[in-house]
């Protein structure tokens, strides 16, 4: 698989994991935006919160931690595979920047992965 195609695959896995995380936290009307540029992948997910997400701050911090390239090839297939478990540690190892915005009950999570 060419590098560009691999990046598309990784983008799918990142979306899988984030979608699972938000659904497990009972978010409603989830929308997804994906943009693959030359040097980065931008992903945004937004929806309606039905209750607070207690570990959201921690998850965002984790995703802002340093990338861990050695985990990517080896463990990437785990991303998004957990039914009742999160793989946020792995997600944190694969993305560079993350932030969130909460306006009333609308939550938006933004993630960037540099290529």
């Amino acid at each position: 698989m060419k590098r560009r195609e691999r990046e598309k695959y990784k983008a799918r896995k990142i979306i899988d994991e984030l979608t699972g995380y938000l659904l497990r936290n009972n978010i409603k009307k989830l929308s997804i935006y994906l943009e693959i540029e030359e040097d980065r992948i931008n992903i945004s997910l937004w929806g309606q919160l039905t209750c607070t997400i207690p570990d959201l701050e921690d998850v965002i911090k984790l995703m802002n931690a340093k990338r861990v390239p050695e985990m990517e090839e080896y463990y990437e297939h785990l991303l998004g595979s957990g039914i009742n478990a999160n793989d946020m540690n792995l997600l944190g190892a694969m993305v560079d920047e993350a932030s969130y915005e909460l306006k009333e009950d609308r939550l938006e999570v933004r993630v960037t992965r540099f290529i």
């Binding site: 698989m1 998850v59 080896y74 463990y75 946020m88 190892a93």
Partner: protein, 435 residues
């Protein structure tokens, strides 16, 4: 899962990387220097030659095959080379890398050496070039794939080829395995959902199973061996105490002489991927590695086992994975489960094979971490049955036999425990509603 409790800032991280590198360098050098305590340089050289050209499938203790000095020197060289590749590739010294590094060091006491590991590692490097990814993204595969390295020695020297032909065929096979390993290992994760920490062992087991099937089909057979030393207990105990005490002191120093957050660390499930260095910092991780080293050594001695090359390999692997998922709360139930099985079954619980089953059985620690100690004991018990039965498939050319077995156990038991947990939780919810 336990979400992050502590993220170091980027400045701290860079300092920690240098400190980690220095500690691993000292560890590797100390193994090489300790070799001189046991044997003279000449004896070590002769021992290394024996190690290179001899069969080394399970269980071949390099301390018995050659000498304790040669085994320690071999472990030192493999550690140094691993460290060089980590540094050269630009990989981080994350929990995952620490686990792989100590696995390399540990298995260099019984099966891995430069001759049989290099072609496999080179194959993984070729893969990174062919696919166009940096070598640091496949460094874990480059290390874990060497679990199949006894196959290289077997093809080179034991299948009746002339030495040049044998080595050429063996190296072609080694490079091929290194090439396909990164593709296979990440996909096999889905089979056990990250509940088997030694995923590389499962992958090597599958490759070993195919290889042996192929060889047997053409009339070649490989027999398991049992070359084990038992006479270095006290000396090796002192070595282990020295290493783990150093880890503990360095860890405590980095943690300002406190065990702060250790209890929280032991509440992590340990399921892949749980990187303690990222979640709790290097200091606390090192403390956990030291504690797990002491507990593993205590298990061996309390159950009447002997300290030798393979056992050192088992202990060092546990220590490495104590940066990446293992802690007392999720490993002790596995120890209990395996030991219970050994007390009831036909095998000698003191034998090196049995003790290895318990040590490496902790590959299943995430099951105990996720579903509780009773599930952990049941898992350990089941593992003891599986691991003794599965090595025929690869005739010991897969050094990570427990990781192979662990994959099947995790894939079978985790979904069952999941359903049991859901039923129990549902009943609890109904009771709460009624009351």
């Amino acid at each position: 899962m336990g979400i992050i409790s502590k993220i170091k800032d980027s400045r701290n991280r860079i300092v920690a990387e240098e400190e980690k590198m220095l500690l691993l360098l000292l560890f590797s050098l100390s193994l090489m220097l300790l070799a001189l305590v046991f044997n003279s340089p000449r004896e070590i050289g002769q021992g290394m030659w024996i190690i290179f050209k001899s069969k080394d499938n399970l269980i071949t203790d390099y301390m018995a095959l050659a000498s304790p000095g040669a085994a320690l020197f071999n472990a030192g060289i493999i550690s140094m080379l691993s460290l060089y590749l980590i540094k050269r590739s630009g990989a981080n010294l994350s929990g995952a890398t620490l686990a792989a590094f100590f696995t390399m060091a540990g298995f260099a006491f019984f099966g891995k050496n430069l001759f049989n590991s290099l072609p496999i590692t080179f194959g993984a490097y070729l893969y990174s070039r062919l696919v166009g990814v940096r070598f640091n993204t496949v460094i874990l595969s480059a290390f874990y794939a060497t679990g199949i390295s006894p196959l290289i020695t077997e093809i080179a020297f034991s299948l009746g080829f002339t030495p040049i032909k044998g080595i050429a065929y063996a190296y072609m096979v080694g490079i091929f395995i290194g090439l396909i390993f990164p593709l296979l290992s990440s996909r096999f994760l889905a089979f056990h959902q990250g509940y088997n920490l030694y995923n590389g062992g499962f992958t090597c087991g599958i490759i070993g199973m195919f290889s042996l099937g192929f060889l047997r089909m053409f009339g070649y057979n490989i027999d398991s061996v049992d070359i084990i030393s038992t006479e270095y207990n006290l000396n090796l105990l002192l070595v282990l105490i020295g290493i783990f005490s150093t880890f503990l002191l360095v860890g405590l120093y980095q943690q300002n002489w406190s065990f702060r957050e250790y209890e929280k660390l032991t509440k992590e499930t340990g399921r892949l991927v749980t990187d303690f260095t990222n979640l709790y910092g290097f200091g606390l991780t090192l403390i956990n590695m030291a504690i797990m080293g002491f507990i593993s050594t205590a298990y061996v001695l309390l159950t009447g086992g002997s300290l030798n090359g393979p056992i050192l390999g088992g202990i060092f692997t546990i220590v490495g994975f104590s940066a990446f998922g293992k802690h007392p709360r999720n490993t002790i139930p596995i120890f209990i489960g395996v030991y219970l099985a050994l007390l009831l079954n036909i095998y000698n619980p003191r034998s090196t094979g049995s003790t290895l089953g318990a040590l490496f059985g902790t590959t299943l620690a995430p099951v105990a971490g996720r579903y509780g100690p009773i599930a952990g004991i049941v898992t350990g018990f089941m593992h003891a049955g599986m691991v003794t039965n599965i090595s025929y498939l690869h005739a010991g050319v897969n050094l990570y036999n427990n990781g192979f077995s662990g994959g099947f156990i995790a894939a079978t038991l985790a979904p069952i425990f999941e359903v049991i947990e859901e039923v129990i939780n549902e009943k609890k919810r109904k009771r709460e509603v009624q009351s």
